[in-house]
């Protein structure tokens, strides 16, 4: 089977607008969560989020193209440029390269601005670029244009599993021989008035802080940004002398087929076991788990039970980095895969922030407060989504 490795990573998120800054923040235990600064935030009940602050797209992207880019595309392009530069990827791989990016809400602020114009402000026309800005494939397609990738290019939209499913599909494209290089990950820009207002109604957002697996938790905190990873067929990477960051060893996805919002540990167990089997690894081979760990009661207890069922009483150390970069929804799996690279490449397990006290219903070895040093050969990264979707990646030293 063709092996797939990661040769570049890039990100824009609330912690930093690049990988070095993100690694530093994750290592030092800084959180990107703070007061929301966008228009009409004062009309919300929930007024915190992990925003990309002081974002100046003109500092990163050609001014002539900006009218085409919703923020979700801006983040994807800047993260993608960092990943491609790190990989040293030549331009114009043509049909042997592709892009699969996750996003849950696509260009939601373009929807919001346009509806506001016609409904609230009584205007009779909107920008002619509304459709190409808001379509879910805009971030993926603009990455294909920027880097000359003419093979499989599409978006995956499966709520909080989007990025993990996108990366799983990218892995499969390369394994199958359909491509040699795939840019993959996710992008999200849901922190606008309508985006948060919609989430508020479900009563699952925390008003103060995200506290995964901790007593005192009050729910999730949304985060914006993008994470892009360069997946590459191993011999293709070795032949051009690329630095290999990790191997994408396994992937599996399952559907609970039960409830549209409530998680089912059975589905999470099946996805973790499936990903381990795909990687040819046993639970004892895994040295770290980057959990989905949203900080909601439902997820954290269900995920803890699933981890104990898969790994028994000796589960590896667990981190949720969502209290740092926020819940990136369709991008979150990409942020977390990048955190896994930190663990694999530098032996740093980032801490779970916001921790107050152990929850007896969450019997996992939680890395909290400060980072933990550990030599890990393989890690898993969980993503579980509304819709009952579970997607698990296994990364290991290459």
């Amino acid at each position: 089977m063709r092996r797939v490795v990661i040769t570049g990573i890039g990100t824009v998120n609330a912690l930093a607008k690049d990988v070095p800054g993100t690694f530093a923040a994750l290592t030092e235990g800084r959180s990107g969560i703070g007061p929301l600064g966008f228009r009409d935030a004062d009309r919300l009940t929930i007024r915190i989020g992990a925003e990309v602050r002081d974002w100046d797209p003109a500092a990163h992207l050609p001014a002539a193209n900006l009218p085409l880019y919703d923020p979700v595309t801006q983040y994807a392009l800047v993260a993608g440029a960092e990943a491609v530069a790190m990989a040293g990827l030549p331009f114009g791989l043509g049909a042997r390269g592709g892009v699969i990016l996750g996003t849950a809400a696509g260009g939601i602020s373009t929807w919001e601005d346009s509806y506001r114009a016609v409904f609230a402000e009584g205007r009779n026309r909107v920008s002619p670029l509304v459709v190409p800005r808001l379509m879910h494939n805009a971030p993926a397609s603009h990455l294909s244009i920027a880097h000359g990738l003419q093979g499989p290019v599409f978006a995956v939209s499966s709520a909080c599993a989007s990025a993990n499913q996108a990366m799983g599909l990218a892995l499969q494209q390369i394994r199958s021989g359909a491509a040699d290089v795939m840019l993959t990950g996710g992008a999200e820009a849901m922190l606008c008035f309508g985006g948060v207002k919609a989430w508020e109604g479900l009563r699952v957002l925390a008003p103060d802080m995200c506290r995964p697996f901790s007593l005192g938790r009050k729910g999730m905190v949304i985060g914006d940004g993008a994470g892009v990873l360069v997946f590459e067929e191993e011999s293709h990477a070795r032949a051009r002398g690329a630095t290999v960051l990790a191997e994408v060893a396994g992937f599996a996805m399952t559907a609970d087929a039960r409830d549209i919002v409530a998680p089912d540990p059975d589905g999470a167990v099946a996805a973790m076991r499936g990903a381990l089997a795909d990687a040819g690894l046993s639970p004892a081979d895994i040295g770290h788990i980057n959990a989905h760990g949203t900080g909601t009661l439902a997820n954290d207890r269900s995920e803890s039970r699933a981890i104990v069922r898969v790994f028994g009483g000796h589960a590896p150390p667990v981190t949720s980095t969502k209290a740092a970069h926020g819940h990136g929804i369709g991008a979150t799996g990409a942020f977390e895969a990048i955190a896994c690279i930190l663990a694999l490449s530098r032996g740093i397990l980032p801490p779970t922030l916001g921790f107050q006290a152990p929850d007896p219903e969450c019997r996992v070895d939680l890395v909290h407060r400060v980072a933990r040093g550990a030599k890990v050969n393989a890690v898993i990264s969980n993503a579980f989504a509304f819709g009952g979707l579970n997607a698990v990646l296994v990364l290991r030293q290459a």
Partner: protein
């Protein structure tokens, strides 16, 4: 709107819960417990939304804090008391 009486609030609570449960109003007793009625988590947030719209109140309910309820959503009388308190504080 003139202040709703307790009977009016109770009737509205029962009507809203019955609509969520797809039950006739007569099947939701004034002392019913929500767990016994079988209201799931989405039904609960939909019922809260309907009560907020009906009485122009904001109900402090977070699905992650079932053990620390600012608003007792466990029984019909608890909901009626909570709504009445929020209307009085409006």
């Amino acid at each position: 709107m003139t202040a709703a009486t307790r009977a009016e609030i109770e009737a509205a609570v029962i009507t809203i819960l019955a609509a969520q449960l797809l039950l006739p109003v007569s099947d939701v007793a004034p002392d019913a417990r929500l767990d016994d009625l079988g209201l799931d988590s989405l039904g609960k947030v939909e019922a809260i939304f309907a009560l907020e719209e009906r009485f122009a109140i904001s109900i402090p309910f977070n699905a992650n804090e079932p053990d620390l309820p600012e608003f007792d959503f466990a029984t019909v009388p608890g909901i009626v008391d909570g709504v009445a308190g929020l209307i009085a504080a409006r």
